[in-house]
């Protein structure tokens, strides 16, 4: 059994303008000790998927249907009591902006110890020791001195290290990282990613890495999910997604980023503008921007198609290609 099983998750925000369907039928599994990357652009539903798992949606947001099973426990409709026990204890989350996710009025030590005191049976002294140990783990120098300091005395990279220490203090099974390095400089980002990789190996937890940066995914992930307009368009192992993309959106993304190879060539952008979640099209949500869209794409959404053992994609092009291939074989 997978550690986390998400099945046909639908999450919507009910606004004055109407129902914003932020997540539309997302399903995936996460195994122990794996790193899953979720990539997508703003509004693709990647963060909302994570917030749905943690049930920390804004007040207008609601899980409409679907199931989230964590270690055999159903989380949808489980209630605050169950969630409180899981949040920060068995599933932790770190956010993009380490500036606003720490409380400026409490010392770092106090904030670190809070989670430990809440979730584990440790007394104050033990919690203090654990907090110091965690700061050492994330390579913060002079941890005893740092414990007494306040967030403003920390740089952005250091704050993100503190957030990671806090998230890992109770040895969670899953760490959800929501764009953890987006606000950081490249040299600091590289350090944080390496740190996450090291700790993951040491502790063996699973990571869900949410990012818009394919470069970050390439550094870290075992498996990748590509999201667009609240749905999963493609899912597979890292190598499959990068070297054998089978959804037109993923292919478009790969073509539109500057890499070390396409230097000097013109980038091939995805045309059009991002999707309006209030008015989702009838067929494939990417069809209006897709250069290869066919008639069926505009009327019918494609179910996920198994490309091979490690790879699924929801794109009609694969059906077309396989029909053409079979046709070719007949001749």
């Amino acid at each position: 059994m997978a550690l986390l099983e998400v099945r046909d998750l639908h999450t919507s925000f009910f606004t004055d303008a109407g129902e914003v369907r932020a997540v539309n039928g997302v399903s995936f599994n996460l195994d122990h000790g794996k790193v899953l990357g979720i990539v997508g652009e703003s509004g693709s539903g990647k963060s909302v998927t994570a917030y749905s798992i943690m049930q920390i949606l804004a007040s207008t947001g609601k899980i409409v249907s679907g199931s989230i099973k964590f270690d055999g426990i159903e989380l949808v409709g489980a209630g605050e009591k169950v969630m409180k026990d899981i949040r920060g204890n068995r599933i932790s989350i770190i956010f993009q902006d380490p500036m606003t996710s720490l409380n400026p009025t409490y010392s770092i030590g106090k904030q670190l110890m809070e989670a430990i005191l809440l979730h584990t049976g440790r007394n104050k002294q033990e919690a203090y020791d654990r907090a110091v140990e965690m700061l050492k783990l994330v390579n913060v120098n002079e941890p005893e001195k740092r414990m007494k300091q306040y967030p403003y005395e920390f740089s952005g990279g250091m704050r993100q290290r503190v957030m990671i220490a806090m998230a890992l203090a109770c040895e969670p099974d899953i760490l959800i990282a929501d764009e953890p390095t987006t606000a950081l400089d490249v040299t600091i980002q590289a350090g944080i990613l390496e740190l996450m990789k090291d700790i993951q190996k040491k502790i063996g937890m699973a990571i869900i890495m949410i990012t818009h940066d394919l470069g970050v995914v390439a550094q870290l992930c075992d498996e990748v999910i590509v999201m667009y307009a609240g749905g999963i368009c493609e899912q597979g192992t890292e190598n499959e997604i990068f070297y054998n993309p089978c959804h037109e959106y993923t292919k478009g993304l790969m073509r539109s980023i500057p890499t070390t190879d396409n230097n000097g060539e013109k980038l091939q952008p995805i045309t059009g503008t991002p999707i309006d979640l209030l008015n989702l099209p009838k067929g494939c949500p990417f069809a209006p921007r897709c250069d290869n869209a066919m008639k069926i794409c505009l009327t019918k959404t494609c179910e996920r198609i198994q490309i091979n053992e490690d790879h699924q994609a929801a794109c009609w092009m694969n059906v077309k290609n396989s029909i053409e291939k079979e046709g070719g074989a007949d001749e």
Partner: protein
């Protein structure tokens, strides 16, 4: 690229200090940009990279005299920018595209008025019809429809807003544009559209860019040459490919090695050069070479003596005492 030998923009020993109030009537100079010199040829794109706080944005702004430079000179087409009239005239030829398309457009103005404002300021039309025609042709240049003219900024997506910002920058028919992180707030798929547009506009209108960004892959893609800044100083300047394939300054080496390459095989084979410590505060900049506190090759000389920005190979400038030994 143009054949003219005279650079379009020449920056000599530019310094930009800010007085920071330390309380009790004391103040201290924050040296945001400390003695940088470079030139940009006509039709060229110079990329300016560095981490947050290195002074790259400030450099762009003080070149345009949005701040009054503390010292140094900016020379445009052989003429030094000094008086108020110079600045006013200079701004007809040099404009700016800002990073954040959400805060750089006035929410109470229509797109037509946003793009038309520079025309109003410099009185660049003789009739209302001419103004409107100019605005519509600018909108056409950046891929906006004429029906967008009467709309307000909030009705647009990030990519379209950035197009409005670019149309505004083009309004005065400039030949030099400072692009301050113009694509970092945009989604990946939109980023490529805007980058391509910068390329096309450059070809069409023979524009010269100072392209400030922190995303090294984007900068490398768009730039002819790249300058690297650290703590207010310029540490390296060279051809875009050279700097990427064979960086000479220890800081550039570390920076390039930290770039997350969107290719798992390369990413996993990459050996990152780790830097110890963090960027010092520009209020307490170290003596000598600004990078010596984190440099793996630093010697006693680096701690005391500031290295000069020297041409080590043709067209390659590096500020490092040990550039020969290190490479």
């Amino acid at each position: 690229m143009s054949n003219t030998t005279e650079p379009l923009i020449q920056v000599n020993h530019l310094k930009q200090y800010f007085d920071i109030n330390m309380g009790f009537f004391q103040s201290k100079a924050l040296k945001a940009v400390d003695d940088i010199s470079f030139s940009i040829r006509e039709g060229e794109t110079l990329g300016l990279v560095g981490e947050s706080g290195c002074g790259k944005t400030t450099a762009g702004r003080s070149i345009l005299h949005l701040y009054k430079p503390t010292a140094g000179e900016v020379i445009y087409r052989g003429k030094k920018i000094e008086t108020k009239q110079d600045i006013q005239e200079f701004r007809k030829h040099a404009t700016m595209v800002f990073q954040d398309p959400y805060s750089s457009l006035d929410p109470r103005m229509t797109v037509e008025d946003i793009i038309g404002e520079p025309l109003d300021i410099h009185k660049m039309y003789s009739s209302k019809n001419e103004r409107r025609d100019k605005i519509l042709s600018l909108m056409d240049h950046v891929g906006l429809n004429s029906e967008h003219a009467a709309r307000y900024a909030h009705e647009f997506s990030g990519g379209q807003r950035q197009r409005v910002g670019i149309a505004r920058a083009l309004a005065v028919d400039p030949d030099f544009i400072v692009c301050d992180e113009p694509v970092s707030a945009l989604d990946v798929s939109i980023q490529a559209q805007v980058i391509n547009m910068f390329d096309e506009l450059q070809e069409k209108m023979n524009l010269t860019y100072l392209f400030i960004a922190h995303d090294l892959l984007v900068v490398r893609h768009i730039s002819d040459r790249i300058a690297v800044m650290y703590l207010g100083h310029m540490v390296e300047l060279a051809d875009a490919d050279q700097i990427y394939d064979r960086p000479l300054h220890p800081y550039t080496k570390a920076l390039i090695s930290a770039v997350p390459v969107p290719d798992p095989k390369i990413a996993k084979a990459n050996k990152r050069i780790e830097l110890s410590g963090e960027i010092p505060s520009p209020l307490n900049a170290p003596t000598g070479c600004p990078f010596h506190t984190r440099c793996p090759y630093a010697t006693d000389r680096c701690k005391e003596e500031m290295p000069s920005f020297e041409e080590v190979e043709t067209g390659r400038f590096v500020a490092c005492h040990r550039v020969k030994e290190v490479n």
